[in-house]
C-alpha cells in the first residue's frame, strides 16, 4: 500500500526558473538597488552577493478582500477577564483586536521585501550595460619568477639529494642480476657432490674438483657488493619559469572641490572593473588608495571615496607619493604594478609638465600599466595635453575620457585591447 522514494538526490533547484522570472520582472528595481548598494561596498569585495530590497507594495499581488469597517464578529480563545456586555476600547491600528495582517494586505505596509542575489547575479547586474570583455584572451604580460620544482631522478648529484628507496631498489636489482647464474651453478655443484658421496666407491678426484668449484663460486657470490655507486639515484630539480601572482593596484584620485560624489562613483566603478580584471589574472591583488588635492595622502577605502576634503589640485603630489610607496614596499622585480588615476582634469597649470616628467622618468618604467581616466563633460585641460604628448612614446600609458556611466565599459575595453597578445 505504500512505497518510499528517495528524492534527495534529485535536483533541488526546481524553483530556479521562477526565481529568474521574479528577477526579470523586477529588474529595474533590483538594478536601482544594486546601484545604491555599490556605494556601500568595498572595491575589493567581489566574493559576496548583494542584499536587495524592494518596497513591498511594488510586488504585492492584488486580490479582493474585506476592507475595514462594518460589523465584524470574531471569536478568540483565552478569556481571562471578560463578561458579556463588557466594552473594550478599540485597539490602535487593528480591527477588533484581530491584530496584524490587515494593514499589509492593503498594500500599505511599508516593510521592504529583502532578498539576496548571488555574486554572479550581482556582477551581471552591475556591469549589465557594460558587458564584461572576454578576459581569457587578454592575458596580461606578466613578470616572470623562477621556481624550483622536482623533475625525476638522475645518476649524479650531491649526497644530500640521495633517494634511498630508489637507490636500494637499484642495488637489489643489480645483485639479483649479477648473482643469479652463480647461485644456480652452486646448487648444481652441491647436488653433484651429494650424489657423489652417496656412491659406494667415492671418486676422490672428482669430489675434490667439485669442492674447489663450490668454494670458488661462494667466493664470487660474496664478492657481489651490496651497494655500488652505480646504484645511487639522486633527486633531480629544475627551475621553472612562472608568472608572479602578486599584483598591486594603485588608485589615484583627485578629491579637490571640483570632484563631486557622482564623479567619484563613476571612478569607483572603473576601479571595481579593473580590480575584477586583475583578480582573474593574479592570485592576490593589493590595492593602495592615494587621494590628493594639493597634498597627497595614502588612505583606506572609506576615506578614499567618502571623506570630505577640498582644496586646490596638484597632481604631482600623488605621483610622488606613489613613487615613494613603490620604492618602499613594492619592488618592481616582484610585483606587477598597475595604476589607475581618476581626475576631472583640473590641475594647477604649472604642475602638469612636472607630472609628465615624473611619469616618464620614475613611474612608467616601474609599472606594467598606467591608466588615466578623465571624468568630465568639459574640454581637456593641461594635464591631458601633457599626458597625450607622453603617450606617443610610452605604450604603457593609456588615456581615456569618460563622460557618463555607459562610457566606462568601452573605455575599459579600449584600455585592455592594447595588451592583447
Amino acid at each position: 500500500m505504500a512505497h518510499f522514494i528517495d528524492r534527495r538526490l534529485n535536483g533541488k533547484n526546481k524553483s530556479a526558473v521562477n526565481r529568474q522570472r521574479f528577477i526579470r520582472r523586477y529588474k529595474q528595481q533590483i538594478k536601482q538597488a544594486v546601484s545604491d548598494a555599490i556605494s556601500k561596498r568595498s572595491v575589493t569585495d567581489l566574493s559576496s552577493g548583494e542584499s536587495i530590497s524592494i518596497p513591498a507594495r511594488d510586488i504585492t499581488e492584488p486580490f479582493f478582500h474585506q476592507g475595514q469597517g462594518g460589523v465584524k464578529q470574531r471569536v478568540h480563545p483565552g478569556n481571562d477577564q471578560f463578561s458579556p456586555g463588557d466594552r473594550i476600547p478599540r485597539p490602535q491600528g487593528g480591527a477588533g483586536g484581530s491584530g496584524k495582517g490587515d494593514a499589509s494586505a492593503d498594500g500599505e505596509g511599508s516593510d521592504d521585501f529583502v532578498f539576496a542575489i548571488s555574486k554572479d547575479e550581482y556582477l551581471d547586474l552591475l556591469f549589465e550595460d557594460l558587458a564584461l570583455p572576454d578576459l581569457k584572451h587578454n592575458q596580461l604580460d606578466k613578470l616572470v619568477q623562477y621556481k624550483t620544482v622536482r623533475a625525476g631522478y638522475r645518476a649524479e648529484g650531491v649526497p644530500a639529494n640521495i633517494d634511498i628507496v630508489r637507490s636500494l631498489r637499484g642495488s637489489l636489482a643489480r645483485r639479483i642480476a649479477m648473482s643469479a647464474d652463480k647461485k644456480q651453478q652452486l646448487r648444481q655443484a652441491e647436488a653433484e657432490l651429494a650424489e657423489l658421496e652417496l656412491a659406494a666407491v667415492p671418486d676422490e678426484l672428482a669430489r675434490r674438483a667439485l669442492l674447489e668449484r663450490i668454494s670458488e663460486l661462494k667466493q664470487r657470490l660474496a664478492a657481489v657488493p651490496f651497494i655500488d655507486s652505480f646504484d645511487l639515484r639522486f633527486r633531480n630539480y629544475q627551475k621553472k619559469p612562472e608568472p608572479t601572482s602578486k599584483a598591486v593596484m594603485f588608485c589615484l584620485m583627485d578629491v579637490s572641490g571640483s570632484m563631486d560624489q557622482a564623479t567619484k562613483e563613476m571612478a569607483k566603478r572603473f576601479y571595481i572593473l579593473l580590480y575584477l580584471f586583475l583578480s582573474r589574472s593574479y592570485k592576490n591583488v593589493e590595492v593602495v588608495y592615494i587621494r590628493h588635492h594639493t597634498q597627497a595622502k595614502e588612505v583606506d577605502e572609506q576615506e578614499f571615496f567618502y571623506s570630505q576634503e577640498t582644496g586646490g589640485t596638484i597632481v604631482s603630489s600623488a605621483l610622488k607619493l606613489m613613487q615613494e610607496i613603490i620604492a618602499k614596499r613594492f619592488n618592481p622585480q616582484e610585483w606587477n604594478i598597475y595604476a589607475a588615476q581618476a581626475s576631472d582634469g583640473d590641475n594647477w597649470a604649472e604642475d602638469s609638465p612636472l607630472c609628465a616628467e615624473l611619469l616618464s622618468k620614475q613611474i612608467l618604467p616601474a609599472v606594467r600599466y598606467y591608466a588615466y581616466i578623465e571624468i568630465t563633460p568639459r574640454a581637456h585641460q593641461s594635464l591631458w595635453e601633457q599626458y597625450e604628448r607622453l603617450r606617443a612614446s610610452q605604450p604603457k600609458l593609456a588615456l581615456q575620457h569618460i563622460r557618463e556611466v555607459s562610457d566606462i565599459y568601452p573605455v575599459f575595453r579600449e584600455l585592455f585591447k592594447k595588451q592583447a597578445a
Binding site: K14, N18, I59, Q73, R87
Partner: protein, 505 residues
C-alpha cells in the same frame, strides 16, 4: 462500545536516526493499526526530500509540478529568506491530494518525527482526502498530476509562441481573480489527460465561433422581449468561468490559461474550507495511532516522549493576549473537537446527553468517520463544537461595529454564550462570508459590451484590496469597460470603480 484489541509485539528500534528499512517497518505497523481503525486511504507514495527541496515545494503551494510564474519565485525567495534567518521552521511534511497520495518527508527529521509525519499525512490527511464529501465532489485525485503536467507544458508552449511577458501579464490578471474561479455548486467532470488534450484542441477551434454567436445582431430585434436582453440571465459567481466562456476578445490560448488557473483554484477550494477538520483529523489520528502502538509495547518510551513533545507544540493554542497569538490554531481546535467527540461517545455526561443526544453512547469510530465524511469547517463546528471545548478554550466573542467607539464582548464561555459562540465561530469559517461577494451582474450586449460586477457587502463591511489595480486586471481580461457597483444594506446602488476611468472634460 469498542474494545481495543492490543496485539503485543517486539519493540521497534527508536532511532533517533532513520533508515529506509526502519521507515518501512514503522509504515507497516502504522498501516496495520490504521486498518484496525478503518482508515480508508489512497495508496501512499512517500518521498524523502531535503530542506532545499522542501522550500521548492513551498513556493509552488505544495503542487508537485507547476507552471512557471514570477509569483512562485517571490514565494520561494520569501520562504528561503525567512528560513535562512531562522524566522521560520520548515513544515515537517507536505501532503498532496492525489492518487497515489504523495507525502514529502524531510530528511532532517528524526525517526519518531518521521513516524509521526507518516501517521499524520499518509493515514490522517490521506483518508480525509479520500472520504470527505468536498474532496470527493470537487477534486479528482487520480487526474490532478496529469492536469498539472498538461498545464505546465501548455503554459511553456504559450510562452514560446507569444512571449514570456505576454503570458505573465495575462496570468497576473487571472491570479488576481483566482478566488472567483470556483464553481460552488456544479460538479466538475473527471477527465483523463488524453481526453483533456483532445478537448482542448476542440475547444480552441470551436469556442471562438461560439463567442461571436453572442454578439450576433438578431434581425427580429423589435419583438425580442426585454427580459431576454438581460445577459447573463442569472448573476454569475464564477467570474473566471464567465470570462473564459464569454469575453469577446480573448484569444483561444488566453481562454485556456483562464481555464488552467480556474481549475487549479477549484482544486484547492476544498482545502480552504476544511482546514480545521483536515488538520484536526490528521492530528487526532497521529496521536491515536501512535498511542495504540505504544500501548501494544511496539514503540519505546523515548520514542513516545519525542512524539508527544511535537504533538503538544502542534496543538498549542496561545491565548488572545499572548504575543504568539495569531488567531485560532486549526490543529488545536480540530484536535480538540475530534477528541471531545470520542469522549462524548464513550463517556457522556449529562450535558452531552442534552447537547448531543444522538452521539452520547454511540460507537465512537463510526461517529467520527461520519463527521469526517459529511462536513466542512463551517458545518462541522456548528454541529460538533461542544460546551466542554468552548470552556477548555475559554472562547469569547467580540463584536466590532465601526459605528461604535468601543468593542463589545458579546458572549463568553458560559451557558448563555455556548450557542452564540458556536454560531459565530462557525461563521468565521464560512468562506462565503469571508470572501467578498462579487458577482457578474450584467453585460450590455446590445451596446458597448460593458461588464457590470456587483458587490454585495456582508454586515456592511466595505470592499478592500487594491481595487483600482484589480479593475485594470478585469479590464485586461474582459477587453471592454468594466464597472463595479455596490448594493448596500438599504438597497442603494452605487458605482465603486470603473475601468477605464471616465474622462472628465
Amino acid at each position: 462500545m469498542r474494545s481495543v484489541a492490543l496485539s503485543k509485539g517486539p519493540c521497534l528500534p527508536d532511532g533517533p536516526d532513520w533508515s529506509f528499512e526502519l521507515l518501512t517497518q514503522y509504515q507497516q505497523e502504522i498501516a496495520r493499526v490504521a486498518a484496525y481503525y478503518q482508515l480508508d486511504t489512497y495508496p501512499n507514495q512517500i518521498e524523502v526530500i531535503s530542506a532545499e527541496q522542501m522550500l521548492d515545494a513551498y513556493s509552488s503551494i505544495g503542487m508537485p509540478i507547476g507552471y512557471h510564474h514570477w509569483s512562485f519565485g517571490k514565494k520561494f525567495i520569501q520562504s528561503e529568506q525567512q528560513y535562512k534567518r531562522g524566522y521560520m521552521g520548515l513544515a515537517y511534511e507536505i501532503v498532496i491530494n492525489s492518487d497515489p497520495c504523495i507525502a514529502y518527508l524531510m530528511e532532517e527529521n528524526t525517526l519518531p518525527m518521521q513516524a509521526l509525519v507518516m501517521a499524520h499525512a499518509c493515514y490522517g490527511h490521506n483518508s480525509f482526502f479520500k472520504n470527505n464529501y468536498l474532496f470527493r465532489t470537487w477534486t479528482d485525485a487520480s487526474s490532478i498530476i496529469d492536469y498539472l503536467v498538461f498545464a505546465k507544458n501548455y503554459v511553456s508552449q504559450c510562452e514560446e509562441k507569444y512571449g514570456i511577458g505576454e503570458v505573465e501579464d495575462f496570468l497576473d490578471s487571472c491570479h488576481a481573480l483566482m478566488n472567483y474561479g470556483v464553481d460552488r455548486y456544479k460538479r466538475p467532470q473527471k477527465i483523463s489527460m488524453a481526453e483533456e488534450q483532445r478537448r482542448q484542441q476542440e475547444r480552441e477551434a470551436f469556442l471562438q465561433s461560439q463567442v461571436n454567436e453572442l454578439w450576433r445582431t438578431l434581425p427580429a430585434k423589435a419583438n425580442s422581449n426585454p427580459a431576454e436582453a438581460h445577459f447573463p440571465a442569472e448573476p454569475q459567481e464564477n467570474i473566471l468561468y464567465f470570462i473564459e466562456k464569454n469575453a469577446p476578445l480573448l484569444k483561444p490560448w488566453q481562454r485556456e490559461l483562464v481555464r488552467i488557473v480556474r481549475k487549479i483554484s477549484q482544486y484547492f477550494y476544498p482545502q480552504k474550507q476544511t482546514q480545521v477538520m483536515n488538520e484536526g483529523w490528521a492530528t487526532f489520528w497521529h496521536y491515536t495511532l501512535l498511542q495504540h502502538l505504544y500501548d501494544e509495547g511496539r514503540v519505546s518510551d523515548r520514542f513516545m516522549l519525542e512524539v508527544l513533545h511535537s504533538h503538544t507544540s502542534v496543538v498549542l493554542q496561545p491565548p488572545y493576549n499572548s504575543k504568539y497569538y495569531s488567531g485560532i490554531n486549526p490543529y488545536a481546535l480540530g484536535f480538540a473537537i475530534f477528541t471531545d467527540l470520542r469522549r462524548i461517545c464513550e463517556q457522556p455526561t449529562a450535558e452531552d446527553r442534552e447537547w448531543f443526544p444522538q452521539l452520547a453512547g454511540s460507537d465512537w469510530l463510526e461517529s467520527l468517520h461520519f463527521a469526517m465524511q459529511n462536513f466542512k469547517d463551517e458545518s462541522f463546528i456548528s454541529q460538533y463544537l461542544s460546551p466542554k471545548v468552548i470552556r477548555d478554550f475559554h472562547l469569547f466573542a467580540i463584536t466590532d461595529d465601526s459605528q461604535d467607539s468601543s468593542l463589545e464582548v458579546s458572549a463568553i464561555h458560559n451557558a448563555e454564550g455556548y450557542q452564540q459562540i458556536r454560531q459565530m465561530l462557525s461563521a468565521q469559517y464560512n468562506l462565503s462570508q469571508l470572501e467578498p461577494n462579487i458577482q457578474v451582474q450584467q453585460v450590455n450586449i446590445s451596446s458597448d459590451r460593458a461588464l457590470t460586477l456587483r458587490y454585495t457587502p456582508h454586515n456592511k463591511i466595505p470592499l478592500g484590496g487594491a481595487i483600482e489595480q484589480l479593475m485594470r486586471h478585469l479590464h485586461r481580461l474582459w477587453g471592454f469597460e468594466v464597472v463595479l457597483e455596490q448594493l448596500d444594506h438599504n438597497n442603494q446602488l452605487s458605482v465603486l470603480a470603473r475601468c477605464p476611468t471616465p474622462h472628465h472634460p
